[in-house]
Subunit: 147 residues, 2 copies
DNA sequence: TCGGCTATGAGAACCATTCCCATTCTCGCC
DNA sequence: GGCGAGAATGGGAATGGTTCTCATAGCCGA
């Protein structure tokens, strides 16, 4: 986890009247080291000694402070990743069978085309401040091999 | 609701060993008439006399038969829409404040560009049979006006 | 060091969703 | 047209991820 990230997270938490405690630092580090959104079970498994209620509470605080984002999925468990302005704009590759996700980036010119086109569509529908979310859903190599 | 849609739905249900009952017909009609994914509360409000347990059970059956699709959202309730091969490929405009959704279509050439580019990305990551999901997230006119 | 405020942990509470089961309906068959 | 088997329905109980509560512990400024 970079020093800059650490500093920005602390600033955002302080701005929301919160402290940057050890557990919250663990959560941020865990998410920063991952290359994909992490589910609650993964987080509890990877963060030794983190209590379930603390994990939920702290993820909610971090989300409120704009540090993490909850990613909607088809799965039963929620997934979290660092806010996009902290780790950069990206999209997700999702396995329709096992649910695993991986961060991916698409070419800048495609992003630009998307933004331009979608902005026009959104405006004509009366929507403001529009961002796009793009997900690639398919079968991961493991699931394709297994079945 | 068109006759063709009705016929296709019935065929899919029969293929799954299910009947195309009145309640299921109501659900399909309701979703066909909507221009956006419908949440469970909306469905229960719009389908007079439909019992909650029946709505959940029948939506699950319809999903299993490939007639409807559950749409993941940030909200507390699930949303459902007709399967894409029944109503055509489309995307969603989502209000980040109130959660309402609206179906939108993007230009065919952008779709083509997306498919081409994303397919390459997915293949290089070992993913097969990849489709894309695109969502435009912003503030709807009502929410922008209110606050 | 003290006082007030925040964080933590354990469990209870919540609530959308799923499950269960007794009753009712459908449809093929005679 | 009536029977019987299997499917659908409805009401409520059970499930389980998530949130809430509250007593205790920790942190930080004065």
């Amino acid at each position: 986890m970079s020093v800059e990230l650490d500093t920005m997270v602390e600033a955002r938490l302080r701005g929301a009247g919160q402290r940057y405690t050890g557990q919250r630092r663990d959560l941020v580090r865990l998410l920063a080291d991952a290359d994909s959104p992490r589910s609650i079970p993964q987080i509890l498994a990877e963060a030794r000694d983190m209590k379930q209620s603390s994990a939920y509470r702290n993820l909610a605080e971090l989300e409120h402070a704009g540090v993490v984002r909850r990613v909607p999925t088809d799965e039963e468990y929620g997934r979290y990743e660092l806010a996009e302005d902290l780790i950069g704009h990206h999209h997700h590759l999702v396995c329709s069978n096992c649910g695993t996700m991986r961060d991916v980036e698409v070419p800048a010119d495609l992003e630009a085309t998307l933004d331009r086109t979608l902005d026009r569509i959104a405006k004509s529908a009366g929507f403001a401040r529009v961002q796009h979310r793009l997900e690639l859903v398919g079968l991961c190599a493991d699931c394709a091999a297994t079945g």
